[in-house]
Amino acid sequence: MNVEVLLEEIISFIGIYYILTAGLNVKAGMTGIPDFGHAMFFAVGGIVVGNLSARIAAAAAASQLHVSAWQAVKMVISNNTELMARVNEILPHMPGVSIIIILFSVIAALILGGLLGWLASYPALRLRGDYLAIMLLAASEGTRIFAMYYKPLMGKTPTVGLTVPNAFGFTGNAGLWSTIFILILALLVYIYAERLYHSPSGRLFRAVRDDEASAEAIGKDIAKVRRDAMIIGSALAALAGVAYSFSPWIAGSSVAAISIFDRVLWTFWPWALMILGGMSSNKGAALSSVILGALLIGPIRIYKNDIAAALHVESLGIDPGNFANALEYILVAALIIIVLFVKPKGLIPEYPSRTVSKDEVKATIDKIARERAA
């Protein structure tokens, strides 16, 4: 396999998973909201790309397709495959429209993800702990089933889904540029998440998680804090969904309800990454995404068949293809269990938030000591 493609694929994977895990970390790690329905917010990104951006692309290409814009928009659902095949031939010649589509998708996903997070924060205010986890899991499943069979949203066949506009086609190298796009998003999210962590806000999230009554006693509006965390974390998940959907390496050329709602890939894996990295630790989320992407997932997704072949599993009567697929599950499961037993606080345990640097704090302490002496 082409090294360049492999690299792009791994970087895309790391970027998407980091954004997704960072979002979960704001909700579950920092604020203590056990969101087992994270996939639902991720799916928002896919839906935005599959629906809104596809419709924009169709409308923009309408004149060249000799149909009215309105007709083209309607065809996104009614005649998806054929229409989008044509649109994707035209779109690469429209760099302006392409860029608008990308920007629009990012903004729309952030807004819609945040909106859904805001809605989901209502049960999060009423319920605590494991009940809330089950509730969000159920909500995610319910939405999944609804979206899967609701044709105006996901097309006629849930397994096929909607074809995605080739928004990076204008660059001439969609693989490379979508990877760069994901990388930039991931870096921006990292900077934002790290700043958030080291701000009074991050401190407040963690305080509410540690002791709600106590936070209330020092005058904090718990409901608002939890709502903010749900909005931010869910918006980030939707952003990851956009990154995923635009990536030809990871999503392919379509978004399908069956895969964007997958609770194993988009809820449980981020949980595993978060625990591996260290609950509440943003650096940990980044590190575990890099480790899993670079060391395990990339090579394993790519070489799993070779590994299966090298182990000669077929001589034991085991199907190499299935063994290879199972490997991923086994590794993630084993990793979670080992971390829970050996390093329950994760690779980079939660660190203090430095709103000002440690040195500055020390300098201030010295100053106070001097003033007192004087």
């Binding site: 579950a28 056990p34 087992f36 049960p123 009423r126 319920l127 702990g129 494991d130 009940y131 986890a133 089950i134 509730m135 899991l137 159920a138 909500a139 499943e141 319910g142 089933i145 609804f146 899967m148 069979y149 194993v264 449980f268 949980w271 595993a272 625990i275 009567g317 085991i318 199907d319 293809g321 299935n322 063994f323 697929n325 199972a326 490997l327 599950y329 086994i330 993630v332 499961a333 084993a334 979670i336 269990i337 829970l340 037993f341 329950p344």
Partner: protein, 355 residues
């Protein structure tokens, strides 16, 4: 009344009741929602299918689908009764093994290390992954394929529905063995749990250990053993659910068995049953599971007839999700709480009075 809808719904509801019961028992004793629970049924189903196939192979039995006349009507028993007995027994044994491994190898050691509810929930997920992977490998194993093919079953989309015992009565009413089995099973299960919990010393100890572990321990009761017993019952019922999934694939919302199905689809419904049953009530969970099973299929059916839109049937699972949401938000004590009037007592400040 649509008889076929009723029987297949009953089988599905029984499966849910069995799973909800298992989830509730584990929550009551180990204080964790066991995400891996429905997967235990799949392990049991694979074990049962394999051993049933081996038995058929060893005895050289061939499926015999010609109906016989009996006092019930025309009766079809494709294999000997031992064949089915083996299936039931093996599924129970493997359900228990899979459950005990989860408890002793993962959850109990983690609890000893002071893991919180989140870590335990994640650990059950990890165990679920391990089981999925194992089943992935198992169901495509060459020998397994061969053995299962011998009785005409695919190993990746496994269904033995065509080998179920069936009766067609004189009036032309079709009754499947799974339907009869599930009805008897639920009645027997309810009865034996009642006797166990309320009429035996062990049952009293179990209730005591769940309610007040420190006091039970002070009185010299082996609380650990009581917990182990609830894991055994949980595994046992998961195994039986697996057997039903195997024999009645296609009934209600049950899909043919693979590494992921029907556990992946049924998990929310099973939790819904447990939650509307009140999470801390054994009988509540059985009733809750049954209820979810029936409403999940009957409500969309009525809606479909009423609106004339058969598409609505696809959304049936949304109902269990709504049931979870409504129960948790408005009646967190579940059915059991409503029946006991706990909510009303809480309204009148019972809790504060106690403290």
């Amino acid at each position: 009344m649509d008889w076929n809808l009723f029987t297949s719904t009953t089988i599905y509801a029984s499966v849910l009741a069995l799973l909800s019961l298992g989830i509730t028992l584990i929550y009551m004793t180990t204080k964790v929602f066991n995400f891996a629970h429905p997967r235990l049924s799949l392990v049991a189903a694979y074990a049962a299918a394999t051993l049933m196939a081996y038995y058929a192979e060893a005895t050289g039995a061939q499926p015999n689908l010609t109906p016989k006349h009996s006092f019930l009507g025309s009766l079809t028993v494709p294999f000997s009764w031992e064949f089915y007995a083996i299936g039931i027994l093996v599924s129970m044994v493997f359900g228990v093994i899979a459950a005990l491994v989860e408890y002793y190898a993962i959850l109990k050691p983690l609890q000893k290390r002071g893991a919180d509810y989140l870590m335990l929930m994640i650990a059950t997920l990890a165990y679920d992954f391990l089981l999925v992977a194992t089943l992935f490998i198992y169901n495509t194993h060459v020998d397994v394929r061969k053995v299962l093919a011998r009785i005409g079953v695919l190993s990746t989309k496994m269904s033995m529905a065509s080998y179920d015992v069936t009766v067609v009565t004189g009036g032309g009413v079709f009754i499947s063995g799974s339907f009869i089995f599930s009805v008897i099973l639920i009645v027997l299960l309810g009865l034996s749990l009642y006797i166990l919990l309320f009429k035996t010393t062990l049952g009293v100890k179990m209730r005591a250990s769940v309610e007040n572990p420190p006091l039970a321990e002070v009185l010299g009761i082996n609380v650990e053993r009581v917990y182990a017993i609830s894991w055994i019952i949980s595994g046992l019922t998961a195994g039986l659910a697996g057997y039903l999934m195997l024999m009645a694939a296609g009934a209600g919302n049950l899909k043919p068995i693979s590494a992921t199905s029907p556990a992946d689809e049924i998990v929310v419904s099973a939790f819904a049953g447990s939650i509307i049953g009140g999470v801390n009530s054994v009988f509540g969970s059985i009733v809750g599971g049954l209820l979810i099973g029936y409403i999940e299929l009957y409500i969309p059916n009525w809606l479909a007839i009423w609106t004339g839109n058969a598409e609505l049937f696809k959304y049936s699972k949304v109902i269990s999700m709504l049931a979870v949401a409504i129960t948790l938000l408005f009646a967190p004590e579940g059915l059991a709480g409503l029946l006991k009037g706990e909510r009303w007592k809480r309204f009148f400040g019972k809790k504060e009075e106690e403290g």
